[in-house]
Symmetry: C3
Subunit: 202 residues, 3 copies
């Protein structure tokens, strides 16, 4: 489906830009910047592919992902201030990216016979572990472990997708609806500073 490829590319690019921004803030050199762009963009899908046993990992099958990620470097160089200003827009691209990565991850996992529970998990892993690896390589506690609710947005969208799929809901509708669930929850969470703390009863 061409629409998926397009959104995949947009999501990859948005993630790569977020990696470049993180690298600039940490004063990485050009190589470090490229690596951070790369792991942020493909880290989640790579971990998913390794875990479910797809090899070589998906993005290595063609050069498109690499070229998109490398193009993020000169674009960030020339248009850095504009990109920072566009962050709100990119947040939307980025959220669209994770929403789609969640559902692609679920479909891939189901297609090789994994259980729905594992499939939803792999969907979330696809969507969020790029950011986790970015933060680990930057020597920081992963952001999403502390205050980002977007893992739960992915989880909710993934469960909706899986539920509708089981019920036989029309596929295109299911895809669009589940993606909207992810986007809505994430944007609401950011706007209203939602977070789910875990403080055991003592």
């Amino acid at each position: 489906m061409d629409a998926i490829l397009i959104i995949d590319i947009i999501g990859t690019f948005a993630f790569a830009i977020s990696g470049v921004v993180a690298a600039v803030e940490r004063k990485f050199d050009l190589f470090g910047t490229l690596i951070l762009a790369l792991v942020t963009a493909v880290g989640g899908g790579t971990l998913r592919d390794l875990l479910i046993g797809i090899s070589p990992v998906s993005w290595m099958g063609d050069d498109v992902h690499i070229l998109v990620i490398m193009s993020a470097i000169p674009i960030a160089y020339f248009f850095y201030t504009i990109l920072l200003r566009l962050r709100k827009t990119f947040l939307l691209f980025d959220t669209l990216g994770i929403a789609l990565f969640t559902i692609l991850g679920i479909e891939k996992s189901l297609s090789i016979g994994l259980s729905p529970v594992i499939a939803v998990m792999m969907g979330v892993v696809s969507a969020v572990f790029g950011g986790v690896i970015r933060d680990v390589l930057s020597n920081q506690v992963p952001l999403i472990f502390r205050k980002e609710i977007y893992a739960f947005a992915c989880l909710a969208g993934g469960l909706v997708y899986l539920g509708f799929k089981t019920l036989g809901v029309w596929e295109e509708f299911n895809l669009i609806f589940s993606v909207l669930v992810v986007i809505t929850i994430r944007l609401l969470a950011i706007k209203r500073h939602w977070s789910i703390h875990f403080v055991p009863r003592t």
Copy 2:
């Protein structure tokens, strides 16, 4: 063997609880807590499976491990103080877990034709890398690199297991004896503050 499955589950649960405790101490949110419980419990076995080429990784073949790990979250929520008080008991479960994970790792590696040296190494990796990944994701130097001797407990138990296996010792006896070697060394090491420093002669 049902006994192995039961100990596997207990070990997984004990590791998951140790991940939850680490997450609470670092003020992670609910998602971070879940991830830390997960990687602590299955990280070592996952790395082993990736290295030796088993895919999808073992714990994804069924939902049992995931459900056990997820159950650690509400249990920790309601019984946190009791769990902290029970730490000694958990240390025993945990030690039982790593002992068994060591031997399972050795058996898996031998079964796909790897050398005994590599097999023992994979046994130790299975047992200790969950904790290593937990510490890396928490942005800390892995505990066992500094003062925990339990990697050597696993190594010793693994070597005993392999030696007895080569000598044709009765399998059930070998399993129990090797597990006891791991437990004894670890508990003694904790009690007597054993550690093996590496300070080159200068």
Copy 3:
């Protein structure tokens, strides 16, 4: 080719020594030291093998790599001051190692049908990610993300190798020439403090 095996062993040993030195500086215990030696020496090749789908990963096929790495521990113990003094020499060994790892990585990737772009990337990954994983496990921002130019030395050597290969240049000549490109760039970069900062235009 026996020459490759010999340089592979020298490179592995040099990387292992660099891991031991890093562990001593961070006061790791014996186990931590062994792990750091191991990941520094085989981490890059392991990541490459996982990504391109070779399993079990290459160094597990025999015991040579493990024994070489383990031998680095007693050697470092007895000859630590000499090793520090030999660092300049080791820098040469080490650079020879990364140069060869780059080309081995490229060849392996091409041999399983990956594109030249991906192959060069896997060559660089083979050469530099051992050091990245060493730094992550030591809870530090990877050195090469900030000031080491050797990733670009590998990249340059890899591109030269690939170009000459495409042109049908005599293989042995190509190997030696590409390795010299890597070594020359790296040594010049260290001597003249070259680095490629990435500071976006604002």
